[in-house]
């Protein structure tokens, strides 16, 4: 059996209890939903933790609500539920397609939208068991002072590989975040810090409650390049959504610590974006396939997506 470190486990049933548990807590806590991404990380010793807070029992975080206004998707909604939702398929094709191409059918039934959005960045030199990492000096992401992927690099280049966030950002989605102090709403794109080491601006006491998508029906889609036709994280992923007057947004994922975002006011402006996006991406050799290939796929995938929408 592969081992897990020792920790405490709590399963709050209400938000009050959740906040109470967290605010009193002095050690490191990890929030657990589907666990499909975080559990392997814990097994590899990548998360320092004393407490697991399992939020699956929290009331009222699992819903897809659309009353003609904004759509609200509760953070505990599974990827499978999103994939199967007819309204999402009809109104937000980029999100539907992204859900369809996430991991595998089994994992889609367990993984949640909240967890998928907040999955930590990845690196070929980081997502490995502790024993393996002993062959290297500690890198930025584990609290050290070097980057093992880009020797001489001055920061962490770990890559954000989420499938759903690029699609949601293309749709102009926001997140509602709960903390003891109350609720706040911010555009999804703003939760990204751009730093591979700690990619999200959320504090450890905050919880994503739901995702809000503007009401207008969008045209769009999602392209994901992955090595195998199931399970794999993207090599590069592109989401595109556009509304009335072909005003819209193209988002490039797996480009770095944060998705690259390109707004365009009309279809004419869209045509130059793939090349610009490709030039903007400056990957390092920290994923399975080489950086130049990943970079060159940005335009290929974007063009393919644009031509089919």
């Amino acid at each position: 059996m592969s081992l897990l470190p020792e920790f405490e486990y709590k399963r709050p049933e209400s938000l009050e209890e959740f906040h109470h548990l967290l605010s009193d807590y002095k050690g490191d806590a990890v929030i657990l939903a589907g666990g499909t991404d975080v559990m392997p990380r814990i097994k590899m010793g990548l998360k320092k933790l004393n407490l697991i807070l399992d939020i699956k029992a929290l009331e009222g975080l699992r819903y897809i609500k659309d009353k003609g206004q904004n759509m609200r998707i509760g953070a505990l909604t599974t990827i499978s539920e999103i994939k199967k939702n007819k309204l999402i398929k009809d109104k937000y094709p980029s999100l539907h397609e992204a859900a369809k191409l996430t991991a595998s059918e089994n994992l889609q039934q367990r993984g949640t939208i909240g967890g998928n959005i907040l999955q930590d960045t990845r690196c070929l030199y980081y997502n490995k068991p502790e024993v393996w990492r002993k062959s290297f000096r500690p890198c930025f992401k584990v609290g050290g002072d070097i980057c093992n992927a880009a020797r001489g690099g001055k920061k962490c280049f770990a890559v954000y590989c989420g499938d759903l966030a690029p699609a949601l950002i293309s749709l102009g989605a926001s997140v509602r975040i709960l903390s003891k102090k109350g609720e706040k709403q911010m555009p999804l794109k703003e939760i990204f810090t751009g730093d591979g080491k700690s990619p999200f601006s959320l504090s450890s006491h905050e919880l994503v409650k739901d995702i809000i998508i503007p009401p207008d029906k969008m045209r769009g889609g999602y392209e994901k390049l992955r090595m195998r036709k199931a399970i794999d994280y993207p090599v590069v992923n592109i989401a595109l959504s556009m509304g009335a007057g072909d005003k819209g947004r193209l988002v490039v994922g797996s480009a770095g610590a944060t998705p690259l975002i390109y707004d365009f006011p009309s279809h004419d402006e869209l045509s130059g974006i793939p090349e610009k996006a490709q030039n903007d991406m400056s990957p390092v050799n920290n994923m399975y396939l080489p950086p130049l290939y990943r970079k060159s796929m940005v335009k290929v995938l974007s063009d393919k997506l644009i031509s089919r929408i």
């Binding site: 393996w132 195998r228 794999d232």
Partner: protein, 791 residues
């Protein structure tokens, strides 16, 4: 084939119900009272001197029962190959220095895994890093860091123990990190190239790929106070395991019992002996408690040998019309830190492909070279796929250059049924031309070739021994009649996915003409079964299956003889049918098998009716006290190696996305000459599984080692095909009969993989109109090739 009653039929696995209910017992499922768990500390460095190991703190941890390091067990050496010329070069735990990152340095046995893991953290090792060398061609140069010092054997080598005339083991010194070499020549290579009208020289590189057996490597050992060792292992034949455990622990072989387990896949990766197996047995002996080790997946990847990394320099001369006149091979086997089976690999690389094409002059030169990397091993067609990948790639390039038809070119160079190979092996059956004809028709070669943009077709071939002269040399089987007229069949074959119990029961039923459920198979238990070749070198059916056939024949003869006496009817008048012995002259006097059992006990002095059968893999290769020695040479390739070759030809049809370099395999057709398929469904399964394995080999798989560190030691970064990646695959079994095999059967378990690898890779290169010389052909490499073509 219609005359068979049980053989050839796609009979369901007799142990199928066990598997689908989760009741089949694998080594990892084994629990014993008081069992300890052991864990291994491995080196983070690829080359370092061990200046000191302090295990005191680990020993002091509550729950820890034993801790060992190299110093405790001394210089007990072992290897896959251990001959006077190539004495074993590996110790179960590193002594003095480590030679690859992942090497075993110390180990702990504790009451549970958590405590064992904590204890590992308490072991202090002081290393002094040494310069490493990772590239075999660099390692061969003068002045490269020396990985091995002089090996001074302190015991006889395994080959001497097996009976090879002793030439007294002598100190063995490695020069320029060359672990071993071979040179096989026939014809006249200079003349061959002079006669050629076109000559090509290319360099190909094939990385290690992992076996990815779904069950990780496991050892459970239970040493008894009586001095007996019981083990449950993940393995492919118990003879090697018990031989080495006995030798390393200095106990008699007869006191080591390898119990039957289901093995969750092996593919060559669980062959021979591994340090963790010795460690489990050693701990059990010093604690007198059962000990279990399950290697975590990352240790399987980083500490257990994957397939061989090989560089192939290939030079081929042809006539303008396509007949090959000469071929010269320089093979560099990047063996990693320890030699293991490299001497075998270097000769197999030649002999496994030798039956395919008739080439008048050949020079095959091989070098096994040490590097500071994970050592390597056999994988399904040991060295076959590496060699054939290069040969078939170059044939396609020659065809493209000379404008030759790729199908014709191969027809022109195939050997013929009845040919004798230069070493004396005979091709009594040879279905490759039929394979090519049928596969080309099925895939629509003529209609499709060269007519589709970014689509391509590729051919791959392969051949494989059906057992070989190497240790364990032979197989035997026994079959025993019970009072109820049923029989227990004893065979040493291991169940790791081939359906041993089913096919052996089919063979025995066929001989004895009795219902399949009359045969109860007891397989893979070293204390019960007679000597067995193991599931190596694809001799399972050809050798062990033939032993079973002969054992059944022996039992049949014994029963008929006694029946004739008992009935006072001439033996010629008796027939066996449906579990009865029936006199043709008076059917009412028939005797059941159960009658025969009672007859033996009551009337024939207690004769228990035990049939035995045995087969020597290659009867004419033997050694006995020097005098009658007739052996085969791995380093010169002289002498006989096998009695029959399985043959495969595959054709793949692929489409490449020119924008992304992604490959979409449209179809794979595999035509196989395995002689008579004993169980058609099992044969199709073997072929299918190798096709999928080959897809992984071409598209994704590579144990990627950077500066000595395995970069993808898990199933997310090391990618094997998922269900969604499998295309349409069909198999054709060509009509063929191997005179020496049981009911005409021969090998099928290893050659299709190599054929598929060549077929897919050739199809990809055909689709893009550009050659890629290395595996795997990942999308970035294909894209790069396309880009280089357009510039």
């Amino acid at each position: 084939m219609s005359e068979f009653r049980y053989v050839t039929k796609g009979i369901n696995r007799t142990d199928g119900e066990l598997i689908v209910t989760g009741r089949a017992m694998y080594a990892c499922d084994m629990e014993l009272p008081g069992m300890l768990v052991a864990k291994i500390l491995r080196s983070p460095y690829s080359h370092a001197r061990i200046k000191g190991i302090n295990t005191d703190k680990a020993k002091g941890l509550e729950g820890v029962k034993a801790v060992i390091s190299g110093a405790d067990i001394g210089y007990r050496r072992f290897s896959f190959i251990d001959t006077p010329a190539f004495p074993a070069d590996q110790t179960p735990l590193a002594v003095d220095k480590v030679r690859f990152a992942g090497e075993e340095v110390a180990a702990v046995a504790a009451v549970n895994e958590e405590i064992a893991a904590k204890a590992l953290d308490l072991i202090e090792v002081e290393y002094e890093e040494l310069p490493s060398v990772f590239d075999p061609e660099e390692a061969m140069k003068e002045g490269a860091p020396a990985i091995h010092e002089i090996v001074k054997p302190n015991t006889t080598t395994a080959w001497e123990d097996f009976g090879v005339p002793s030439s007294k083991s002598r100190p063995y010194k490695t020069v320029n990190n060359i672990s071993n070499k071979n040179l096989i020549q026939y014809g006249n290579i200079e003349k061959g190239f002079e006669e050629a009208e076109y000559i090509r020289e290319d360099r190909f590189e094939i990385p290690s790929t992992s076996h990815v057996a779904m069950e990780p490597h496991v050892a459970v050992a239970s040493f008894q106070p009586t001095g007996k060792l019981d083990v449950w292992l993940t393995h492919m034949g118990y003879e090697h395991k018990r031989f080495w455990l006995a030798k390393l622990l200095d106990i008699p072989i007869s006191k080591v019992r390898v119990h039957k387990t289901y093995v969750g896949g092996a593919f060559g990766g669980k062959i021979s002996i591994f340090p963790f197996e010795f460690i489990a047995a050693y701990f059990s002996r010093v604690t007198l408690r059962p000990v279990k080790i399950i290697l975590p997946r990352e240790e399987v990847f980083a500490g257990c040998p994957p397939s061989r990394r090989m560089i192939v320099y290939l030079k081929t001369g042809v006539k303008k019309h396509g007949r090959i006149t000469a071929q010269q091979v320089k093979l560099i086997d990047d063996v990693g830190a320890y030699r293991r089976s490299s001497p075998t690999a270097l000769y197999l690389a030649h002999f496994f492909r030798n039956p395919i094409y008739s080439i008048p002059s050949i020079k095959h030169e091989g070098y096994g070279v040490y590097t500071n990397k994970l050592y390597t091993s056999a994988k399904r067609g040991h060295s076959l796929s590496q060699m054939v990948f290069a040969v078939e790639a170059q044939l396609d390039m020659i065809c493209d250059e000379l404008g030759l038809d790729k199908v014709e070119m191969r027809f022109k160079n195939f050997r013929k049924k009845g040919d004798t190979l230069p070493n004396g092996d005979k091709l009594r059956s040879y279905g490759l031309p039929e394979c090519l004809k049928e596969a080309a028709e099925k895939i629509g070669w003529e209609e499709k070739y060269g007519k589709e943009k970014f689509r391509g077709l590729g051919i791959g071939t392969a051949s494989m021994f059906s057992g070989a002269h190497n240790f364990p040399f032979s197989s035997a089987a026994m079959i025993r009649l019970n009072h109820d007229g049923r029989m227990i069949l004893y065979t040493g074959q291991t169940e790791f996915g081939i359906g041993v119990d089913t096919v052996m029961a089919q063979i025995a039923s066929e001989v004895l003409n009795c219902p399949l459920d009359y045969i109860v198979v007891n397989s893979g238990d070293s204390e019960v079964s007679p000597h067995d070749l193991g599931n190596w070198l694809s001799g399972g059916i050809f050798v062990s299956g033939e032993a079973v056939r002969r054992a059944a024949l022996d039992l049949r003869d014994q029963m008929l003889k006694h029946a004739a006496t008992g009935l006072d009817i001439p033996i010629e008048d008796l027939e066996m049918k449906g579990g009865w012995i029936i006199p043709g002259s008076d059917k009412s006097k028939r005797l059941s098998f159960s009658d025969m059992s009672r007859y033996g006990i009551q009337m024939a002095g207690g004769d228990p009716f035990i049939g035995k059968g045995y087969v020597k893999c290659v009867p004419e290769v033997h050694f006995w006290k020097g005098k009658y020695n007739k052996t085969a040479s791995l380093s010169s390739g002289k002498g006989r190696f096998t009695e029959a070759y399985g043959l495969t030809l595959a054709i793949a049809h692929v489409e490449v996305n020119p924008e992304t370099g992604e490959v979409h395999i449209l179809e794979i057709v595999i035509a196989d000459d395995c002689g008579t398929p004993i169980n058609i469904k099992s044969v199709e399964g073997q072929i299918m599984s190798q096709a999928v394995m080959g897809i992984g080999d071409v598209l994704y798989e590579e144990v990627r080692i950077s500066n000595g560190i395995v970069m993808n030691p898990n199933l997310l970064d090391y990618r094997v095909p998922t269900a969604n990646d499998i295309p349409k695959i069909s198999s054709i079994i060509v009509d063929s009969y191997e005179p020496n095999g049981p009911f005409g059967a021969k090998e099928v378990g290893e050659s299709p993989r190599a054929a598929v690898i060549s077929a897919i890779s050739n199809a990809i290169c055909n689709a893009i109109g550009e050659r890629i010389y290395d595996l795997p052909m990942t999308s970035d490499r294909i894209k790069r090739a396309l880009r280089s073509k357009s510039t």
